[in-house]
């Protein structure tokens, strides 16, 4: 069974479009995260939710909006996509909001043309 899953795995779209990436974890964890890994492989935290509540919101454009319908799901919606949004987006989860072991999804490679 996949612990942390993301859909889609690949996403190719035009500038200006709106797209969503979905994430689900079946580990029973309380905390979920979104990370962005750019072409230089720098992996940066974007958001974190603990029991559906936003607890970390790093310097991310307002075009990015996370939504957590329940603690097993954390979706990422991106409006008005730009070329610079091209990256691999990773979802992760951990048992608590402390900096303990995180389990990562396989990533979603977003390409904006």
């Amino acid at each position: 069974d996949t612990a942390v899953s993301q859909t889609p795995k690949y996403l190719v779209t035009q500038m200006g479009n709106d797209k969503s990436i979905k994430c689900e974890q079946n580990l029973g964890h309380d905390t979920m995260y979104w990370y962005k890994q750019d072409s230089k492989k720098f992996l940066k935290i974007m958001f974190s939710y603990n029991n559906k509540e936003l607890i970390i919101n790093e310097t991310v454009p307002n075009r990015f909006s996370p939504k957590s319908p329940d603690k097993a799901h954390l979706n990422l919606h991106i409006n008005s996509l730009e070329l610079g949004d091209s990256a691999v987006y990773f979802c992760a989860s951990s048992q608590t909001s402390g900096r303990n072991e995180q389990f990562f999804g396989p990533g979603t490679r977003l390409t904006v043309l």
Binding site: V4, Y33, Y35, K40, K41, F42, L43, K44, I45, S48, I56, E58, F90, A92, T96, S97, G98, R99, N100, E101, Q102, F103, F104, G105, P106, G107
Partner: protein, 116 residues
């Protein structure tokens, strides 16, 4: 914010022991040290976590000196499949410890290349 510094890259050969050192001079009292491994086109994978002295699991060992300002990840008898990027993170593992992105900053890691 406890920042970490690691070598950008390292090379070694199959069967050797590899040690990757991470500097974290500003580590706080409640901070733990965590290492992750990332293969191309995959998400990072937890390797080991520790607070002080030595921690060992089936994959690696983590050595932390008394002052905790650095840590060394030791991979025994590496193989080609250990070629990956290794990240060192420092942060408070207690629930509701706050700290924003502290302990969640992966940086660029150390690219370890194992040759035959």
């Amino acid at each position: 914010l406890a920042k970490t510094t690691q070598p950008i890259s390292m090379d070694s050969y199959e069967g050797q022991e590899v040690n990757i050192t991470c500097s974290h001079n500003n580590i706080a009292t409640n901070d733990y040290i965590t290492w992750y491994q990332q293969f191309p086109s995959q998400g990072p994978r937890f390797i080991i976590q520790g607070y002080k002295t030595k921690v060992t699991n089936e994959v690696a060992s983590l050595f932390i000196p008394a002052d905790r300002k650095s840590s060394t990840l030791s991979l025994p008898r590496v193989s080609l499949s250990d070629t990956a990027v290794y990240y060192c993170l420092v942060g408070d593992i207690r629930q509701n410890s706050g700290g924003g992105a502290d302990g969640l900053t992966f940086g660029k890691g150390t690219h370890l290349i194992i040759q035959p």
